[in-house]
C-alpha cells in the first residue's frame, strides 16, 4: 500500500513515526511548506524560539533530560548558520539531536541564491552525519536513517538539508520499518575476554577508582543502575566527570566528588594515586587529565567506551573495552558474580582511610560572609531548599557552572545539563526551556552567570509564550568571572575586558518580558528570595548579586598534574597551605 505525499508531509509523517512530540524551530522562506504542514496537524508541538541557536540548545536540553533525540527545524542560510554552535556543542557532548534545515530549490543550488548557504559543507565537521536530500523519494528514508545514526553508537547531532522543491514535490512515503537499514551498526557488546581481564584487575586492586563519565548517562538509566550495583558490590570509590554527574548519587557513601580542573581534592588525588583506574564512559579530556605525562602514573587503566577512537586517543590504557556501558557492565557484573570475586579488603580499607584523610581537608570550604552573598553560599542554599524536589539543573559556562557542579548534589542521571566539551556560554537558558517543555511539572533551574545569560536572553520570550516556568538563577558577579580568575592568577591581574559593564536591570528586564524578577544582595534575605522563586508559577529571573572577586577552587592550573592543585586564595584556610604538591 503505497502512500503518496509531498516532501513536507513526509517530514511530519516521518517525525511522527519516530515518536517525535516536540520540534523547536524558527520559520523562513525555505521551510514554509513544512510550516504549512505543522499548522495543519496537532500531534507534533512546535516551539517557536527567538534565535536558531536557542532551538538547537533546547533540543539538546530536551534530549539530555529525556534520553530521546531532540529535534530542531530552521530555515536555509542564516537559519542554518545560526544552528552551528548548537550542533558543535551536541557533537562535543554526544547529544542525539536531529536538525532539519531548509535549502534553496535544487535548481538554484550553487547560484548564490537568496539565503543560500552550503549547509552540508558548513556543518560537516560539526555533525556526526549530514545529508542534502535532492529527491523527494529519498526524503523519508533519509529522515529515518538520520534518527538511527543520531541515536546509535556514540550519540551525536545529525542534519538533513531539504531544498524547497523537494518539500513541494510528491513521492511515495517510506515508513520507518521499511527504511533502508543502515550498515551503521556499531558494536555494543564488550569483548568478554577483555572484561575478564578487568575483573582480574579489580580483584587485585589495592587502590582502585572508578572514573565515570557522560557515556553512562547516554547509555540510559539502566547503566546508572548497574554502576550503582558495581560500586555497592566492590566498595570501590567513584568519581565522575562534569558530564557524568548523577549516574552515581552524590549522597552515596562511595562518592568522592567530581574530578578535573575544578574537581575535588580527594577525587583528583585518588585519581593520581590509584593503582587501578576503571574509566566508564569518559574520554580523558584535557580538563580531566591535566598534564598527560604525569596523569595517574602508577595505575593500570581500563577504559569502557562505545567509541573505539576514544580508546588510546589521549591516554594509553591496559584494558580497552569497546561497547555500550549497559552491556559491558551487565557482563562485568555477571562475571564478577559468577567467579565469586572478592576485592582486596585490606588494601581497600587502607585506601579508604587515605581518601578520608583527603576528604578531611574539606576542599570546598570558603570564607563565609554575613554582608555579601558568596556564590558558593547561594548554591548551598539553593541545594538545601530544593533538595528532594523533582528538580532539573542547567547551567551556563563559567565559575558559576563549576560551583554548581561542586555544591549541588545530583542523585539521578539526566538531571544535570551543562555544556561540557564546547563550553558554550548561552547554553543554559535555552536548554532549561527544552528541559521544562519535556517535564512541565518539574522544577527547572538554570544556574547562570550574568554574562553567559545575556548571550541568549531573548529566549525568555519563548519561555513566556510556551509557559515554561524556568527559573533563571543568575549569580551576578558583574564580571566574566572565569576569565577574570585566570587573569588574576595567570596574567598579572591585568583585567582585560573581563568586566560586565552596562548590565541591564534584571528585574525590569523580567517585567519587560512579563515574568517575575527577583533581586537579592543580602545573605539574610536569600532563603526567602529562593523560596519566592520556587513558588512562583511562571518564569523567574533571579538577580543574585554575589561577591565579585571570588575564585573557584580547587583549581589545577592547566598543564599541571593532579597533585599540584590550588586549594584556596586564602592560605590559612587550610593547614596544608595554598599550593599542595
Amino acid at each position: 500500500m503505497s502512500k503518496q505525499m509531498t516532501g513536507a508531509q513526509m517530514v511530519i509523517q516521518a517525525l511522527k513515526d519516530q515518536g517525535v512530540e516536540i520540534v523547536f524551530g524558527y520559520p523562513g522562506g525555505a521551510v514554509l511548506p513544512i510550516y504549512d504542514e505543522i499548522f495543519q496537524q496537532n500531534d507534533i508541538r512546535h516551539v517557536l524560539v527567538r534565535h536558531e541557536q536557542g532551538a538547537v540548545h533546547m533540543a539538546e536540553g530536551y534530549a539530555r533530560s529525556t534520553g530521546k533525540p531532540g529535534v530542531a527545524l530552521v530555515t536555509s542560510g542564516p537559519g542554518a548558520t545560526n544552528a552551528v554552535t548548537g550542533l558543535t556543542d551536541a557533537l562535543m557532548d554526544s547529544i542525539p539531536i536531529v536538525v532539519l534545515t531548509g535549502q534553496v530549490p535544487t535548481f538554484m543550488i550553487g547560484t548564490d541564491g537568496f539565503q543560500e548557504a552550503d549547509t552540508v559543507g558548513i556543518t560537516r565537521p560539526c555533525t556526526k552525519m549530514n545529508w542534502l536530500v535532492k529527491d523527494t523519494a529519498n526524503l523519508a528514508d533519509t529522515i529515518h536513517q538520520a534518527f538511527h545514526v543520531a541515536t546509535h553508537g556514540r550519540p551525536g547531532p545529525v542534519l538533513i538539508d531539504i531544498p524547497k522543491d523537494v518539500q513541494f514535490a510528491t513521492a511515495e512515503y517510506v515508513p520507518a520499518e521499511k527504511a533502508k537499514i543502515s550498515h551503521y551498526q556499531p558494536r555494543t557488546a564488550g569483548d568478554p575476554a577483555q572484561i575478564a581481564r578487568l575483573v582480574e584487575l579489580m580483584e587485585s586492586a589495592e587502590r582502585p577508582i572508578i572514573y565515570s563519565g557522560g557515556g553512562v548517562i547516554n547509555s540510559g538509566p539502566r547503566a546508572s543502575q548497574l554502576l550503582r550495583e558495581l560500586v555497592a558490590e566492590t566498595n570501590f570509590p567513584i568519581t565522575s566527570t562534569l558530564m557524568g554527574l548523577g549516574s552515581y548519587p552524590a549522597s552515596g557513601k562511595n562518592w568522592v566528588g567530581m574530578l578535573g580542573m575544578h574537581g575535588l581534592y580527594e577525587a583528583n588525588l585518588a585519581m593520581h594515586g590509584c593503582d587501578v583506574m576503571i574509566n566508564i564512559g569518559a574520554r580523558f579530556d584535557d580538563r580531566i587529565t591535566g598534564r598527560v605525562k604525569d596523569f595517574s602514573p602508577k595505575s593500570k587503566k581500563a577504559h569502557i567506551d562505545i567509541d573505539p577512537s576514544s580508546i588510546n586517543k589521549v591516554i594509553r590504557v591496559d584494558v580497552p573495552i569497546v561497547g555500550d556501558v549497559t552491556e559491558v557492565l551487565e557482563e562485568l557484573l555477571r562475571q564478577w558474580r559468577a567467579r565469586g570475586s572478592k576485592t582486596d579488603q585490606r588494601g581497600l580499607s587502607q585506601w579508604w582511610k587515605q581518601i578520608d584523610e583527603w576528604r578531611a581537608v574539606k576542599c570546598l570550604t570558603y570564607k563565609p560572609s554575613t554582608t555579601t552573598i558568596k556564590p558558593q553560599y547561594a548554591l548551598e542554599r539553593l541545594e538545601a531548599l530544593t533538595k528532594g524536589m523533582d528538580r532539573y539543573i542547567t547551567t551556563e559556562v563559567g565559575q558559576h557552572q563549576m560551583w554548581a557542579a561542586q555544591y549541588l548534589g545530583f542523585e539521578d542521571p539526566n538531571r544535570w545539563m551543562t555544556s561540557g566539551g564546547l563550553g558554550t556560554m548561552g547554553y543554559g537558558l535555552p536548554a532549561s526551556i527544552g528541559v521544562q517543555v519535556a517535564h512541565p511539572e518539574s522544577l527547572v533551574i538554570n544556574v547562570a552567570g550574568e554574562a553567559s545569560w545575556l548571550m541568549n536572553m531573548q529566549e525568555m520570550g519563548t519561555a513566556m509564550q510556551f509557559r515554561a516556568p524556568v527559573k533563571q538563577f543568575i549569580l551576578n558577579n558583574e564580571r566574566l568571572g572565569m576569565v577574570r580568575q585566570w587573569q588574576e592568577l595567570l596574567h598579572g591581574e591585568r583585567y582585560s575586558s573581563s568586566w560586565s559593564e552596562s548590565l541591564p536591570d534584571f528585574v525590569k528586564l523580567a517585567e519587560a518580558f512579563g515574568c517575575k524578577g527577583i533581586k537579592c544582595s543580602d545573605p539574610k534575605d536569600l532563603d526567602d528570595a529562593i523560596m519566592e522563586m520556587i513558588r512562583y508559577d511562571g518564569p523567574v529571573i533571579f538577580d543574585c548579586l554575589v561577591e565579585k572577586h571570588e575564585n573557584c577552587f580547587p583549581m589545577i592550573p592547566s598543564g599541571k598534574p593532579h597533585n599540584e592543585m590550588l586549594l584556596s586564595a586564602d592560605a590559612d584556610a587550610f593547614k596544608s597551605g595554598a599550593v599542595l604538591v
Binding site: V149, E493, K560
Partner: protein, 183 residues
C-alpha cells in the same frame, strides 16, 4: 590573592597543556578506505584529515567493482599512535564501510606518473634508452620534449624520476598510489 608569579612566555599561562611536538618517529603508511559512493564522502574524509591535523601525501579515489562503493587509497605519515587514531577516526565515519591498514598486510601497489622531460638531439636517445629499461612508455614526442608514462611501485617510480631530473623535467603529474591486498 596575589598572582602566581608565572614567568612571561611560560606555558603555564595557557588554558592548555602546551606540549612540544611528538618525538616518535613518523613513518609513511598506506591506507585503503572503502566508502559508500555518496555525495560528500570525499569531503568528509578529507575534512577529517585537515580538521585533526593529519597529513595526506597522496590520495586516489575511484569506483570499485561494486558501483555503490568507492575505494580511496591514502598515503599518510605519522607515528604509530597517530596512525592508530587515523584508522579509528576513519572507521567512525558513517559512510566508511571498511579501512584496510596496509601496515602489516601483504599488498600490491602501483602509481602512474606522466612526466615531460626536456630533450635535445644529444640527450633524446639516452632518455629513450632509460625509458626502455624501466619498461616505461613514451606517449608524446615534441621537438624539445618527451612525455613518458611510467607505472610501478614507489621505489621504481622514484628511481626513474630521479634519473629524469638530470635531463630537466618540464612537467609532472602523478595519480598517487593505488593499492590492493593480495588476499
Amino acid at each position: 590573592m596575589s598572582a602566581l608569579n608565572i614567568k612571561k612566555g611560560s606555558t603555564s599561562h595557557s588554558a592548555y597543556d602546551l606540549r612540544s611536538g611528538s618525538t616518535e618517529i613518523e613513518e609513511s603508511h598506506t591506507l585503503a578506505v572503502i566508502v559508500e559512493n555518496e555525495p560528500g564522502v570525499l569531503a568528509r574524509v578529507i575534512g577529517l584529515f585537515s580538521g585533526r591535523g593529519y597529513n595526506i601525501d597522496t590520495l586516489n579515489v575511484g569506483p570499485t567493482h561494486d558501483p555503490k562503493m568507492s575505494r580511496m587509497t591514502i598515503v599518510t605519515r605519522g607515528d604509530d599512535s597517530t596512525i592508530e587514531q587515523i584508522v579509528k577516526q576513519l572507521n567512525k565515519l558513517v559512510n566508511v564501510l571498511e579501512v584496510q591498514d596496509f601496515r602489516d598486510a601483504d599488498y600490491v601497489d602501483r602509481e602512474l606518473v606522466l612526466v615531460k622531460v626536456k630533450v635535445d638531439s644529444k640527450t633524446r636517445a639516452e632518455v629513450m634508452q632509460i625509458t626502455d629499461i624501466f619498461r616505461a612508455k613514451i606517449v608524446d614526442v615534441q621537438p624539445t620534449s618527451l612525455t613518458i608514462e611510467i607505472t610501478g611501485n614507489e621505489s621504481k617510480v622514484e628511481k626513474f624520476l630521479e634519473l629524469m631530473s638530470n635531463f630537466g623535467v618540464a612537467g609532472l603529474t602523478r595519480t598517487g598510489k593505488v593499492a590492493l591486498p593480495r588476499k
